[in-house]
Symmetry: C2
Subunit: 315 residues, 2 copies
């Protein structure tokens, strides 16, 4: 392999990112952490592949930040406080020193922003596409992590912000535009700001990466409940409202936005008595006995299929 | 992408591997662990790429087991007790259901063997080669992890078993042979059996994945010391002894074995007063002031270069 020297990459670009003493200056094969008493370790891993999860010509600082942020988003949904991450990265030869430096610069920016440290990992060569796997670690008070499995019949369902911007941003990015939504697609914002609010009331919670409907479905599956979502109550950005106004079928447009993914908002369930504590959230559904997710528009079921959406009563 | 369905793969093949309750049945995006009081978390990540770290036609159960074992080997060298792991895997389309089932079967075998559980991770598609990233977690009593940084001048240097079998095994495997060393190359044995022995005496320790000389160099770098290695004291398997007898230059042959990698033995430093506690280890060097590693044969320096080895006094 003829790419940059791996020892240089580690010593000059990664070691400055190992700011926590627990990272042992990347001089060992491991990190060693002393868990704070009374805290649970919350741990998650997400992988990104060039051409699958980001566009091959996306700037590498943004790719690095997105790879970190999608992991932090998983911790945010659990109301955990991020501490650090391990990075396994497979570099194609074609990425030169400048590209790697840009990647490390992106990590440095978001480490400062979110107060996390590189803790370790691995760097290898690949004849394939750039492949990034991050394992992120956070702490939560014992038993306080907000799990998907905690939804209960009678709960209401809330979302933390506009839905559909991720999917619209992907369309923009693919069309070569550099508007707000394209930038948001490339650089999502994990809702770590919601930790105290989630702790104050949320039951089951998930971040919205696969799409509102899919991630709500994960809560339904993990909790053994059925969740009803009213698409006409779904919060939208001004851009998404503008896009929706141009669609022939309002319900189908909303269904598209609700299944698009990459929003990185949080969907959670909450006992109605505590719903008032979740300031900034929007109510758009309820939890009942049963299984699966039912999407509705004007009180009628909207049947989602892989290839499209149709109105009907068999959803 | 037209490979097996990712939800089926997770539900039918991965979920049975999530044996620890902390894995939440893979129904969440995270695992939540309550650290045992008084224990440190020891965490490591290693990635493997088809065609780079294993042969593209290696059986997938062995690939899975090797991916897990190289991570467990890192924990073994720290005298940590493995608990579980997260798996991020990028599948090419070409791997069918049978291949994935074989991969999961390999993980199941080694989970039972080493008492670990799958805790989470991610599964994605890739247009490139099969890429596996594992993050392994273990526990060690607070402050007890054997780090690379603990070597001190005056220590002796010990190795836990034969050196060079990994490199000879790679030659065998590449030549299509299925002898003991080829099988050992495909399926290394992490020295988790040495935990109590390491705790009884070892100072700095590392597993031998890059090669004895390189990994000893990591200890030297992390500890700020110089390490002298006598190649003529290096323990060899019968196969390695047989190979060495056929080489023209004994010192060069030993240097080849000492730089080959994939041995997954443990090299450690120990105060001479405690060396007797490390039963089963072989002494082959010493720690002095300075930096780097000096390899010697018959008391004379052997100069290692990237392209070969020559005798000399400038090593």
């Amino acid at each position: 392999m003829s790419g940059p020297d791996e020892f240089d990459w580690i010593a000059r670009l990664l070691r400055p990112l190992a700011t926590a003493p627990e990272a042992l200056g990347l001089m060992d094969d491991v990190a060693v952490l002393s868990p704070p008493p009374g805290m649970d370790l919350v741990i998650t891993a997400d992988a990104l592949v060039a051409g699958v999860h980001f566009l091959p010509d996306d700037p590498l600082d943004l790719v690095a930040r997105k790879a970190l942020r999608v992991n932090l988003s998983d911790l945010a949904a659990k109301a955990a406080t991020p501490f650090g991450y391990l990075l396994s990265i497979a570099w194609p030869d074609a990425v030169d020193w400048h590209g790697r430096a840009l990647f490390a610069q992106g990590l440095a920016e978001d480490q400062a922003r979110y107060g996390v440290s590189l803790l370790g990992g691995d760097t290898v060569a690949t004849p394939g596409p750039l492949t990034i796997s991050i394992t992120a670690l956070g702490w939560a008070a014992k038993g306080a992590a907000r799990l998907r499995s905690a939804a209960a019949p009678g709960d209401v369902v809330l979302v933390s912000g506009p839905i559909g911007d991720g999917w619209l941003g992907l369309q923009s990015a693919q069309a070569g535009r550099d508007d707000r939504l394209a930038r948001r697609y490339r650089l999502p914002e994990p809702r770590l700001d919601l930790r105290e609010i989630l702790l104050a009331g949320a039951g089951g919670a998930a971040d919205i990466s696969d799409g509102l409907v899919a991630d709500t479905g994960h809560i339904a599956d993990a909790s053994g409940v059925r969740i009803l979502l009213d698409l006409d109550r779904m919060p939208l950005s001004p851009e998404a409202s503008g896009w929706l106004a141009k669609q022939d079928d309002n319900a189908a447009g909303l269904a598209q936005l609700a299944t698009g993914g990459d929003d990185y908002q949080i969907v959670c369930t909450v006992d109605p008595m505590r719903a008032g504590r979740l300031t900034g959230f929007t109510a758009m559904g309820s939890v009942v006995d049963g299984q699966g997710v039912e999407t509705r528009y004007a009180g009628q079921p909207v049947n989602l299929t892989r290839t499209g959406w149709r109105h009907g009563k068999d959803g």
